[in-house]
């Protein structure tokens, strides 16, 4: 029997309905569909998909278990490599990773890869609803590792180290775990209940999490070194970048971080039931075209904006967001204005944002990113009424820790310099995720946390 060319569809909330709520957009596969989709896998020996996975899940193997209806076994195979599958099954850019390498995709130009992401999500949800099995821990090594930050890098590193028998303590600056999974990614894309369940699993592995501890302020890395055998720094890329144009400090202009943190983590969408306020206007403009920008634009529609624009200085082809996110944003009515750049923001007499001045752009020669460089078109300025502006053009590494560790090697963007496995120039101090690479993806941070866990284990064993 020939392989079905396209993925089995995953049912979703209707766009007209979903822009009125914060519930998750896709519903996920049912058992029958999951088994059918799993049968599309050719079980090729070379496993190109596994090569494409930053955490190295044995993908054909878990898909085979699904095809055989053995979901518990599939969960076991995934969990052997991935501590946060319900998160990855939702926010991973599979199209560039596992699914991008899939042999089925290469059969014809119309062929879609096996829906590996959807299958991972199906198994993760199946296991979570059933109650995740806690693997047997290795014998305690008596070694202690401190981890700064409970985002994807820190949680992954912590989970793996705990499984190896090390004592692990995470220090989190905020009052909730998950880092960007909690403050950044919206409820409709990654329900917080799922993040909490994944964190619970990590805790059940024996990891302790301390909140309200800002490493570099409350406790320094140097102090941690006295008490712990090794340290992993996974404090992420928390420092927002700005457009650096006049009017950026007007009332109504937010960084994507502030906007999303207020809404996601502080639950401002449920104000005044929750105390944290947010002010969202009728016409919202989000600057940038990555996943974070899509999150902001889609959140705005759900929060009562009448019009939600994505303003991007390059063209549709250069947008860094995942296709799925762009597709969802378009379905929901987000308006895309390409080849447009803001020049300044104008406020009313009370300093509240009322309009923006923009300029049209054209594409020139490719720049260092390989994408064609946007160039302003002379005399093409125009004004547009906007009352909320969200700047989502990226983040730099948070400088709190890099600045406070004596002798730690820092790159020119404020990132901590490490080798492939997360070793910094100081023995015993490891780092990974956005703090080392600059803003990237959840799964890359998880991969870094994983490699660092192996390197830390090796380091601890070499010490005695």
């Amino acid at each position: 029997m020939a392989v079905k060319k396209t993925k089995y569809k995953m049912p979703e909330q209707d766009p007209k309905e979903r822009i009125k709520n914060f519930n998750e957009v896709p519903y996920g596969y049912d058992k029958k569909t999951a088994i059918e989709e799993a049968k599309r896998c050719l079980q090729c020996k070379k496993k190109p998909c596994t090569e494409g996975c930053p955490v190295g899940i044995d993908i054909p193997d878990f898909i085979n278990s699904i095809a055989n209806g053995d979901f518990d076994k599939a969960a076991e195979i995934i969990k052997a490599k991935n501590n946060l599958p319900a998160v990855c099954g939702r926010v991973c850019p599979y199209e560039n990773q596992c699914e991008g390498m899939c042999t089925v995709k290469k059969i014809s130009v119309y062929s879609e890869p096996v829906a590996i992401g959807r299958l991972e999500r199906f198994i993760a949800d199946y296991e979570r609803n059933k109650g995740a099995k806690i693997p047997k821990k290795s014998k305690s090594t008596g070694k202690k590792v401190a981890i700064a930050g409970s985002g994807p890098a820190g949680l992954t590193c912590a989970g793996d180290l705990a499984k190896m028998g090390h004592g692990v303590t995470i220090f989190e600056a905020l009052h909730a775990p998950g880092g960007v999974l909690m403050y950044g990614i919206p409820e409709f894309r990654l329900p917080k209940e799922i993040v909490n369940a994944e964190v619970d699993y990590i805790k059940k592995l024996g990891v302790e999490i301390n909140y309200d501890v800002v490493i570099g302020k409350t406790i320094t890395v140097d102090e941690l070194m006295e008490e712990y055998d090794a340290i992993f720094i996974g404090t992420g890329a928390g420092l927002p970048r700005w457009l650096r144009i006049p009017g950026e400090n007007l009332d109504g202009v937010y960084s994507a971080n502030e906007y999303l943190t207020r809404i996601n983590m502080m639950r401002a969408y449920d104000f005044p039931n929750y105390d944290t306020p947010i002010k969202i206007g009728k016409i919202v403009a989000t600057f940038g075209a990555g996943n974070v920008a899509m999150d902001c634009a889609r959140t705005s529609l759900r929060s009562g904006a009448e019009k939600s624009y994505i303003i991007y200085r390059r063209s549709e082809n250069e947008m860094p967001a995942r296709l799925e996110e762009i597709h969802h944003a378009k379905e929901e009515g987000v308006i895309f204005k390409f080849l447009t750049n803001p020049v300044k923001f104008i406020g009313d007499d009370k300093g509240i944002l009322k309009e923006g001045v923009f300029i049209k752009m054209k594409l020139g020669e490719p720049d260092e990113s390989g994408r064609r460089r946007p160039i302003p078109i002379k005399d093409s300025e125009f004004k547009m009424k906007i009352d909320t502006a969200i700047v989502a053009i990226g983040q730099n590494p948070n400088p709190l820790i890099p600045k406070t560790v004596n002798g730690l090697k820092i790159g020119k963007h404020g990132n901590i310099i490490t080798d492939e496995d997360g070793r910094t120039n100081i023995p015993g101090i490891f780092a990974g995720g956005d703090i080392a690479t600059g803003a990237a993806t959840v799964i890359l941070a998880m991969g870094a946390g994983k490699r660092a866990a192996v390197a830390i284990d090796k380091y601890l064993k070499s010490k005695k």
Binding site: H175, D212, V214, K217, W242, E258, T261, P272, D275, T276
Partner: protein, 273 residues
């Protein structure tokens, strides 16, 4: 959870709380702040550290009941707990021996000034303190600050205590009297800090102000607390809260502090205030 060990009314709307937070107390120094969240549904708000006791592991905050969170905080009793209390955040005050220092505190801004005065005095400075408030009920810590200061001047807007007038009037008088002033610290309402900074700029007296803008995380992540300093955007949470008063764009700060006034009123109405 962080337990409230002591509570005192400083005036009708200003309260003092000593909170058990050993990790914060261990590191706190003058000029820094904390961020607290009362309960699961609470907002994260910054409060400047008014004092700390490393041995007892306590941090003192003094706050005016102005919004939903501070009003709710004011209703908590000794023995109650706060869900989150994180810090110390921000840069410490730059304490050294300057010579003669004028420390100006306005209203609830007197609270964070207190540990700064203490440390400036310990560093060997001649400290002239000027405390001001709308009326005598809103003055605080006069006795404590008097004990630490070489000179103390008090003023109120309505003349109910000390000189009738503003802190800037007293500062102007000190300048007119040819007092040699090496540096000024001014903490209080934004408008007070602006007036003081404008005055000292004329006489080229370096002036430090402590800003208290709206914040969320307090770790440099959200940028809600951004202020324009010398034309550059700075984050009060990690670059401040103290800045060179001659470089701060106070007008923009005042505007940004009004961002959620309507919501604040709504939140207060919802709790029957």
């Amino acid at each position: 959870m962080y337990k409230i060990l002591e509570k005192k009314a400083m005036s009708e709307t200003v309260k003092l709380m000593k909170i058990k937070a050993p990790l914060v107390a261990k590191k706190a120094v003058a000029g820094q702040f904390i961020i607290l969240r009362i309960d699961e549904k609470g907002e994260r708000i910054p409060l400047t550290i008014a004092d700390y006791d490393r041995r007892k592991g306590t941090v003192t905050v003094i706050f005016m009941e102005v919004g939903k969170t501070t009003k709710q905080l004011g209703t908590l009793k000794v023995g109650d707990s706060i869900l989150n209390f994180s810090g110390p955040l921000g840069q410490p005050s730059d304490i050294e021996k300057y010579g003669t220092v004028v420390c100006i505190g306005g209203g609830v801004g007197i609270a964070p000034l207190y540990p700064i005065i203490r440390e400036l005095k310990q560093a060997g400075n001649y400290v002239i303190s000027i405390l001001g408030a709308r009326n005598k009920k809103l003055l605080m810590l006069e006795k404590e600050i008097d004990e630490l200061s070489d000179e103390l001047h008090i003023c109120t807007d309505d003349g109910s205590k000390g000189t009738k007038g503003f802190v800037s009037d007293i500062l102007q008088k000190l300048i007119d009297d040819k007092k040699k002033i090496d540096i000024v610290w001014a903490i209080g309402p934004v408008i007070m800090m602006k007036v003081v900074a404008n005055l000292t700029k004329k006489y080229e007296i370096k002036t430090i102000v402590s800003l208290n803008p709206i914040m969320v995380d307090g770790t440099g992540m959200c940028g809600g607390c951004r202020v324009s300093v010398g034309g550059e955007t700075k984050f009060a949470c990690v670059d401040g809260p103290e800045f060179d008063g001659h470089l701060v764009d106070f007008d923009n700060l005042m505007l940004r502090n009004r961002r959620f006034l309507c919501q604040e009123e709504e939140a207060c109405r919802c709790t029957g205030e």
